[in-house]
Symmetry: D2
Subunit: 457 residues, 4 copies
């Protein structure tokens, strides 16, 4: 069954069918489509457009169709060009012509718009929950290893000592922003386009607000032409997914670097690494590399959909059928990637000794400059003095801490006799106790705040 045969004299070309039919992928929206249709049937009955018996026949018939989808017994027909046609065709087989009343005042345009929004509701819920799991795993590791000190990097160069738990927590806030963005996306998506019909609006006396409420949505779209043409939420979801991917990619990059033989700060669990077909000694961080690689794909989906949307006039154009595959693929990619990364984090074995071995006293050069500041030297001048000492130590082939107190005093009279006490990684970390800093107490506060946010949402 095509939903539009009447005025056509010929048949659709078979190649064209394969090109245009979307059931192969949009069956992912089966549950959403059926939910929407059932609600629409209830609204039609309330408006007196169908009888209560017809409503019940439709709603029960839809429930059967859904069951067939769920248990895998649904049998697509060649003429099922999309999920909407497939469901209506099957419903007609089950309950007869009353099924044909379901389309009263409704078009596939508002129907597919609704289905996508309902699907997004699910997908966003799942993604937010997967992100929360990942955050929990990170927090768990941060709590367990709260006190380990490691080199912190900028420009991929050792910069200052930081807590390993502080580094871990830096990702929680990235994923929290992702969750926040997804919630904003859902807020915009979660309004009902039913009533928009093809583009001009539904001419029948339905209660659209009640219908939206029946669907668990917060309201009704404000303009029917916009309602059928709007795919902002699809693009926004892909943007959110691309940002998640970007964060995961940076996390993966960090972990790959931290687990390099020269560093060894963490060891990845064997279960998330693979070997080489040629080199028997290899253990490759495949899970992380794949996660990093797949974040490129997410950027591609976003760029692709925007290019498609940019190239069309308003309301519904068939080009918009291209919204679904990137969306479904983005959701599916992350629905696997996030649990895998969560497992990688959960099974991570930090190596405090290796971290300690990676600490070099030059990481305390800033603390040395701060020491001068506390003795009255303007920071910019202190920076220059310490820079000179770094150079001196390098020329002598020693570390900063191996310079003598006399060396320090020669560089600046402001150095105190206690200057060598600066060379203490714990002390350096502990000094940074402002909100957001790397001191243990500040990290504990961060953890508490993060847990509160997760408990809240």
């Amino acid at each position: 069954m095509r939903l539009w045969g009447g005025r056509f004299s010929g048949e659709l070309d078979e190649l064209m069918s394969r090109f245009g039919d979307s059931l192969a992928f949009d069956r992912k929206m089966a549950a959403a489509d059926i939910k929407g249709s059932a609600a629409y049937a209830r609204a039609l009955a309330k408006a007196g457009l169908i009888t209560d018996q017809e409503r019940d026949a439709i709603v029960n018939g839809l429930a059967k169709v859904k069951a067939e989808f769920n248990d895998g017994s649904f049998e697509p027909k060649p003429s099922d060009e999309d999920i909407h046609t497939a469901v209506e065709r099957r419903l007609t087989e089950l309950i007869g012509p009353a099924a044909g009343k379901l389309h009263t005042g409704r078009s596939r345009n508002d129907q597919v718009a609704l289905d996508l929004r309902l699907w997004l509701d699910e997908a966003i819920g799942d993604m937010r929950s997967d992100l929360a799991e990942l955050e929990q795993a990170i927090i768990g590791q941060a709590e367990t290893h709260i006190d380990l000190i490691m080199p912190g990097y900028t420009h991929l160069q050792p910069a200052q000592p930081v807590l390993f738990s502080h580094w871990l927590m830096s990702y929680v806030w990235q994923f929290e922003r992702d969750r926040d963005r997804l919630a904003d996306c859902l807020r915009r998506a979660n309004v009902s386009p039913l009533g928009a019909s093809a583009l001009a609006g539904n001419p029948f006396p339905l209660d659209l607000e009640a219908l939206a409420a029946d669907l668990g949505m917060s309201g009704v779209t404000a303009n029917s032409m916009d309602a059928v043409g709007d795919r902002d939420h699809a693009a926004e979801f892909l943007f959110c997914a691309a940002m998640v991917g970007t964060h995961v990619s940076r996390l993966a990059e960090d972990l790959i670097l931290f687990s390099l033989p020269g560093n060894g700060f963490v060891k990845l669990d064997e279960a998330y690494t693979t070997g080489s077909s040629l080199m028997p000694q290899k253990r490759n961080p495949d899970a992380l590399e794949l996660a990093r690689g797949k974040s490129g794909r997410l950027i591609g989906h976003l760029a692709g959909l925007l290019a498609t949307l940019k190239g069309i006039p308003s309301t519904y154009d068939k080009d918009m059928q291209e919204d679904k595959e990137p969306l479904f693929d983005a959701a599916e990619t992350l629905s696997l990637m996030l649990p895998v990364v969560t497992a990688v984090v959960r099974t991570l074995a930090p190596d405090g000794e290796a971290m300690r071995a990676g600490l070099d006293v030059s990481l305390l050069a800033t603390d040395l400059a701060d020491h001068l500041v506390l003795h009255g030297i303007p920071f910019r001048e202190a920076h220059g003095i310490v820079g000179g000492l770094v150079r001196l130590a390098e020329e002598r082939g020693v570390t900063l801490a191996q310079l003598s107190v006399a060396d320090f005093k020669a560089a600046s009279a402001a150095f105190g006799d206690d200057v060598l006490s600066v060379f203490d990684f714990e002390r350096s970390v502990a000094r940074r106790k402002l909100p957001g800093g790397t001191a243990p107490e500040a990290v504990r506060a961060q953890i508490a705040e993060a847990k509160a946010r997760l408990a809240d949402s």
Copy 2:
């Protein structure tokens, strides 16, 4: 002055300077940088790290530097590698070594992070306001021409009659979502990263919350490593800009099509068209074409920045200097594009007669099917019957309205004697009076709602 010379023995290669120096573009953040530094000076004084006299010298010196930027008298030096260096260098010239205290506990990493956030605050405010202007122009046209009926399109094919004002209003909601997204972006951006220092946190006893409040920001970033590495808001802003561009592109496409010789629904004001160097008769819709074309650029900026961010480890990497140019260009592009499109809309001359001439009774085929529905025929069946009539009329070379009542009754006994009354465009439009529909009363309600939203924000 470089801010970091101490440990270096040699000079920066001149080519490298040109490659790395960013003053040519990041001077756009001069006001933000100075605002941030003044607030930081006040915070240092409050914490006792500088004296009140030093604070005043710094704050007043910064005001002078700002004045020099504003009146164009600021003279960059070759060693001013970025706006932060330029400001500090000039401040040092003006007030002496006390300027060197401004960097106490602060790094360029948290400084640039702050500047970008402050710049975004401005840019988002401006863009939201430009969007509101555009919406006002659209609403103005919708109010003036509330009753004009035109063909509504889907798939770029005439679909159903709609109000021209309804079509206009469909864009208001698109731009309202853009404004909403920008507000969400700002909410996430508008927190202070000061205190993050280079990455590990600021070791001095500053009141970061008070500092954020002094800057008009809603809070403090939760993790210093995240704070210096976070450019989510830059990507999110570019996404918002790309969505604005997509909407403008669709509007431009619609207007170009509506103004085609074969349509003529609207006439573009000559002031936004240009001629041809060769063809004397030409009047090209350049403003709209350029707007449509430039929205591709905005997609490119987004894809480019995401690719850059995806490819780096956490905290600050120099790659992130690449965040600014696309951001500035996106803001600048839209700051010109939106007013131009606003002017195009404001000066648009709709042609009601041309619209009317574009209406074909076949646009009422759905109303004809609805007629059958109201006489008890399931919609799906009604659709088929009307489809047959469309074919019949086509074969006879007449319009649907030129078929006789007998023809209709032959197609279905359910057609009433009043079937020809369906062929009335006003009636078709008036039937669609649910919220969001194209009936005049529904469009008036839309306009009222849109005005209320604009007044609110």
Copy 3:
């Protein structure tokens, strides 16, 4: 069977397996993988590393595996993480441990690099052939309708009269460039990376040039580290595909516009249009809209893969597994899109009368200026004079051709008495007979040249 179990003590996490295993999509390379392995076995035998019996067992066994893939009887096992593992596992089942000799000196790194290049050879051949078919269809229409005159557009505004066949032919050259680019891509892709092994090169005395020749490739990669890390050809193929998509999108846009009710220059065959679920009169150009929409997806694949490749160090990283899905999808998308567009073109019904009705004498304004040029007026001045006449005609509400000879002479004494003879569309077209121009003879020359090129390649 995993190919790398020895040093691992545990099992791969099941989630990780699903995340990392690629057999679901890389089975598309089955034929390429088997072809490569057979050639490698022959090379090993030639080098004395395996016996001729072993070679025959391997080659015959591989033929059986291929047959199983072809007839659908191949049964994947959960441990078949990719096509290479699957084939080797099955070969081992069929011929025993001798299969294990096939990996002598070969790594999955050079193996997958080879497979992708062999796959590209096929895919490029197919795409070039599909493009040639499309060009043939265009040329066919151009020949059949060589003399129809239609308005030519720039800026989507009527500009000058052109032949419909000239417009058609303008796409042949776009697709010829695509074919040219694909050939260049293949030239770079069609070298053998076998011998690169994992990254350092193959230590056994193989004849790599002979091996490449056996595979039908033009040579051997120059550096083993580059050979395993190079995916330029994948990106280049995606770029070629995106350009094809861009051309198809522009063609689709043209055809959708030409078939608008207000134009009607062409009629699309019903078999490539679909109807509306709600509006019985609709006939939507779905095939063209989908083609236009899908070209966005191709841009996305390119941007995505580049982002992935940009974000990794050299040689092989697992991220590169992400090269395959966009490649396969691009090839599959175009393998359906191009035949559909070919069929749309082949079944296109041009309407010469509608084209003629779309011609307006203002399209001859340039010819009018040329008339002045031939009477000695500099073109720039002539352009101004004709512009004034266009304005005059507009003010009077007449066409240019309805102005009197006196009007023309009043505007410029240089107008000849024969000025009205300019208003002849055939003459305008016929004047443009330089190579590449729209005169019938020039278009015939174009067609001949295009046919010669297609016959050549």
Copy 4:
């Protein structure tokens, strides 16, 4: 002067001027524009459309305009909407109305199409030459340090020993492919669109082939409508640039990793690093990070232009004005990036001892398996045996080389008494002497081949 004022009654809106005028950036094409116009004047004279005196006046006038551009004395006027207008306006001031004859039969559409192609010729020449310089620098380092052995990586894990020079050379081939692609791009770009006029072709009797030859181009475009609408070469150039960027990004990533404190295989010259404003000890690899970051921008330019081109109908649309800025920016970005990276490579200080320290005998596990292969064990089995030995060594906390011959024999009777001789990095490298392998003789051959290619082109 606008080139099209005649038919317009009003003025262009000032905002619109700013939005549409392109002189600010397209003045980069001044030389190309003038070169094209001079050639066109010669062609007009040859066809008798202007006198030889007029031709000389035009050609000499253009030379003066060019000189004014070159010495900075050219004064733009507000009405100079683009470079073509600016040049023609100035020419008119210099030589009077004869300048107005230059546009005979020529449109800005074919003019700008030509200018872009001429500009590309320059830009591609420069980029190919910059790439050759970079290759020379790499080859220079490879020759100087031909014998240094370092760990080769896959998956960013130590894999097998390779020559540092082999790693270096792996980039030469990447950049050679870039040069090859650019040459292909130029081959397609380097044809003359003059004669296409606005879209329909030039009606005057010019010798287009001779005109193309005068411009140093290889031929004439085949279809005038395609000629004015074709921007394939712009997109292709951006793709080439993005691939160059991707290669540079991977090189930068490698070098950043090799120079990590834990590795130290190379030391970057101070002149291409910068310090920290806060941390006195820092030396950051800014040049490489920026190069890596800027390659994201190049991907963005490509995605953006493709989105713009995809969204328009055929021939010329104003949207295409957006082709220039990304093109110019890509060329400018690389014209700075490539010399900087060349300088970084040229000044790189490799540290053979650090490389040696990074070698671990586990990198010879494959050689150990090969040893078994040479004693008759199928490779797959040998891989498993050696994997077990790796595990054994790991459990005992020793290296593979510290296992006893008895240990080896216990694992497989096939191990020879000379098994320990496998643990020799030089020997491992020397074994890989096939073309493209890492053996010194193979690398020498590579270098010779690369030099021959560079000398050739």
